[in-house]
Symmetry: C2
Subunit: 402 residues, 2 copies
C-alpha cells in the first residue's frame, strides 16, 4: 500500500470518520467542540447557527459533551459574547489535557495544555543530550512527564495523550526516530522506551513547530512554509491547514536543498546543501567562533554588538536561505514563509539578505517572510496542542476513554 | 479568505459534499460509481461488500444510477468476474462524456472520453500558436470542440464539461491564463472566449499531465512528482492522489528552481534556473542547433544517431535536472518521479546523468525515476478524464443536468 504523502492523522473535524449515522454524530460532536473552542462562550442557538444544524440537534450533542466533561455551562448570569440570553457554553478547563514533550539537543521539556489551550504545568531539564544513548535520556524525560502529569492531575486534568518532538526524521509510524544526527541516534523506537499508558505520537520538531505556528500564530495563513533551525535546518510544509509529511514522513528537509551544487560536502552525502551555509555550526565556523551550548545566544549577542565577522556570516546565511527558499516557493507557491526556532532569534541579521535574494530571484510581488513569535517554544507547544486538537477533532473517542 | 494550497475541486468520492442525509446519499452514489468503474462488471452484492453498505441500500442507489443512464445492466447472461450469479453492472458507454482540449505551442487538440475511460472522438490541428493572439486560436479550438462534440453525440454521448490544458500559469479561478510566455499570452480569460454551454476548467498542462499519470499510468504511486517539458519545464505535485496547486495556483514551477545561483539570467527574473540548462531551447542552444518546430524529434533523432554535441547537451540537462530534483525530493519526499511530455522522448539520454546525480546527492535507497508511457498525450487525456472523474465523484450533480 502507498503511504499517503499528506497528513494521515485526523486533522480536520473528524475528517477520517466513517460515513454512517454513527460517524455523522461523531463529526457533528467535533463541529460543536470546534465552534465553542474557536468562538466561545456561545449559546446553544449560536452554536446551531454557526454549524448549520437545528437547535434541537445541537442540544442533544451539547448534552453529551457536558456529560463527558468536555464542555461546561457558564450559566445565564455570564452571557459573554452571546447575542440573546441563554446559558453560555465554554470548553472545559478540567478533563482531558495534552502532554507535550521535547527532546532537544541541549534540553528536555514537558508541558500539559488543557482543552482551552492554556499551559497548566511544565518541567524543563537543561544540559546536552548529544552523544547520550536513548535509554537514559528517555528515562529522564519520563520522569519529567510523570511530574507534569501529577501536577496537572491536581488541577482536575487527565492526560489524553503524549506527543514528543525530536530533532530528527521520524517514520510514519509516529514512534520511530529513524535518524537524529545531532543526538547520534538511529532507528530508536521511542514507543518501546516511553510509558505505555498514554496514546503516543512522535514527530519532527520542525513539524510540531509549524503546527504551533498554524494554531497559535498571529494571522498565520493556512498555507505556509515554516523554516526552523537548531543545528540542522528543517521546514514544515503546511498545506491547507495540514502538514505535508512525505511518503516516508521525511518531507521538509530544506537543509539538504543544494544551494551551490559544487560546494562543501554534507553529512547527507550531497554537496553544497543549505545546512553548509546557514546551519548554526556553519555560521559559527564562518564567523570564526567555537560551537558551545548557547549557539544562538552567542551569535545574537555578537551580532547585536556589531561584530563584523558574525554579521557577515549571518548575511551570507540569509543569502543561502534566500536561494533555497526561491526553489521552495517556486515548487510550492505558499502564501508565506515563517522563520521559527533559532532563526527567529537571528532574524534581524538574516532577513535583509534573505529578502533581497528572494525579491531578486522571484517575479511578482514579494512573498511575506515573517518571524515566529513562539520562537524556540514552538515545537513543545505544537506537540501538546496536537493532542488537544485530536480531542477537539473526535471528542467521542476521548469520551469513551474518560 | 485564504485560498487553499491543496486541490479545491472535488477529487475524492464526493469529498466536499455537505454532511447531511442528502449529502450522504450523494457520497454513496459516488462510492457505487467508483466501485463499478474500478472493478466492474460487478453484481449488486459485490458492490455492497466492496463499499460496506447493505445490499438493499446499494439496490436503491443502483436503480437511481441506471435510471439516469450512468450505469447499465449487462444481464445475468454475462456474469463477468462476478462470483455468484446475478445481473452484472457496468459503467455506461453512453451518456455523459468528458471533453478534453489542449492549446499547445505547436498544435491544438480535442478529444471526448466516455465514463469507461475510452476515447470516442478526437480532432487535431498542427501549426504554431506562438505569438498569435488568443482570439483566433480559441476560435479554432472552439471549431474542433464542436466537431468532437458532434461526433460524440452520434454515439449517444453528451458533454458533461470541457477541460482545457494550456502551457502556462492558470489562476485558481480555473479559467484565467495568467502567463503563458511561450504563447506570449498574459491575463487571458478563456472563460470569456470559449462557448459557455459546458462547465469549463482550465489548467496548466503539467497538472493535467500529472493527473493523467495518476489515473492512467501503470503502477503510478499516489504520491509522485511528474516532471514534463515543452519549451518550459513544469512539474505536477501529486500528493495523496490530489494535485498540490499552491496559493495562487502556481505550484510546480520546477523550471525556476535555482541550479547554479550565479548562472545565466532567466525570463523569470532569477539566475541559473533549471530551465536555463534543461529546457528544450537551452538544450538545442547547448548542442549548437537552431530551434525549429519539432524540437524533441530533432534532439531525439540526433541523439539516436550518436551526435556527440547533442548527447553532451542532454547529459548536462540530466545533471541539472538531478540537482533540481534533489531539492524537490528533500522538500517533498514523494514515492517517485515520473518524466513525462517531451522529457519522456529524451529519457534514454537524460536518465543516466540524472540518476547518477540523484544517487550521489541523496542518502538512502535511490528513488524510482520512471518514464511516462503517455508522453505528449498526457495533458489532453488528463483534461478529458478530469471531467469524467468529476462525474464519478458526484453522479447526482450530472444526473440533475442530464
Amino acid at each position: 500500500m502507498t503511504a499517503p504523502l499528506h497528513e494521515a492523522r485526523p486533522s480536520g473535524p473528524g475528517r477520517a470518520l466513517p460515513d454512517t449515522q454513527q460517524g455523522m454524530r461523531r463529526r457533528n460532536l467535533a463541529r460543536v467542540m470546534h465552534a465553542v473552542s474557536a468562538e466561545g462562550p456561545l449559546s446553544r442557538a449560536a452554536v446551531a447557527s454557526r454549524i448549520g444544524l437545528t437547535r434541537a440537534a445541537v442540544s442533544t450533542l451539547v448534552d453529551e459533551l457536558i456529560r463527558t466533561g468536555l464542555l461546561e455551562e457558564l450559566g445565564p448570569e455570564r452571557p459573554g459574547r452571546v447575542g440573546r440570553p441563554g446559558s453560555a457554553l465554554a470548553v472545559s478547563g478540567r478533563g482531558p489535557s495534552g502532554i507535550g514533550a521535547e527532546i532537544g539537543v541541549d534540553h528536555l521539556a514537558v508541558c500539559a495544555v488543557d482543552l482551552r489551550g492554556e499551559v497548566r504545568a511544565r518541567a524543563v531539564r537543561h544540559g546536552t543530550n548529544r552523544g547520550r544513548s536513548p535509554e537514559p535520556v528517555v528515562e529522564e524525560l519520563t520522569g519529567l512527564v510523570r511530574r507534569v502529569v501529577a501536577d496537572a492531575e491536581r488541577e482536575g486534568l487527565w492526560p489524553a495523550g503524549l506527543a514528543v518532538a525530536v530533532p530528527g526524521l521520524v517514520a510514519r509510524d509516529a514512534r520511530t526516530v529513524v535518524r537524529a544526527p545531532n543526538l547520534d541516534w538511529q532507528d530508536v523506537d521511542l514507543g518501546a522506551l516511553l510509558p505505555g499508558e498514554f496514546p503516543l505520537t512522535v514527530d519532527n520538531e520542525a513539524n510540531f513547530g509549524g503546527l504551533a505556528e498554524l494554531w497559535l500564530g498571529a494571522d498565520t495563513p493556512g498555507d505556509f512554509l515554516h523554516v526552523s533551525a537548531e543545528i540542522g535546518i528543517g521546514a514544515a510544509l503546511v498545506v491547507n491547514g495540514s502538514l505535508l509529511r512525505g511518503t516516508r514522513g521525511f518531507a521538509g528537509e530544506l537543509g539538504h536543498v543544494p544551494v551551490h551544487p559544487d560546494g562543501p560536502g554534507c553529512v547527507c552525502g550531497g554537496r553544497g546543501c543549505l545546512e553548509q551555509y546557514a546551519g548554526e555550526e556553519a555560521v559559527l565556523r564562518a564567523a570564526g567562533l567555537e560551537p558551545g551550548e548557547d549557539r544562538v545566544g552567542l551569535l545574537a549577542g555578537r551580532a547585536a554588538d556589531g561584530d563584523p565577522d558574525v554579521r557577515r556570516a549571518l548575511r551570507e546565511a540569509g543569502t543561502a536561505l534566500g536561494i533555497a527558499l526561491t526553489g521552495a516557493l517556486n515548487l510550492l507557491d505558499p502564501e508565506g514563509v515563517v522563520l521559527g526556532g533559532a532563526l527567529a532569534g537571528l532574524a534581524p541579521w538574516l532577513l535583509p539578505s534573505l529578502e533581497s535574494e528572494l525579491s531578486r530571484r522571484t517575479a511578482g510581488p514579494a512573498r511575506a517572510v515573517s518571524v515566529s513569535r513562539l520562537g524556540p517554544e514552538g515545537p513543545l507547544l505544537g506537540a501538546a496542542h496536537s493532542v488537544v486538537r485530536a480531542v477537539l477533532d473526535d471528542p467521542a473517542a476521548v469520551a469513551e476513554r474518560a
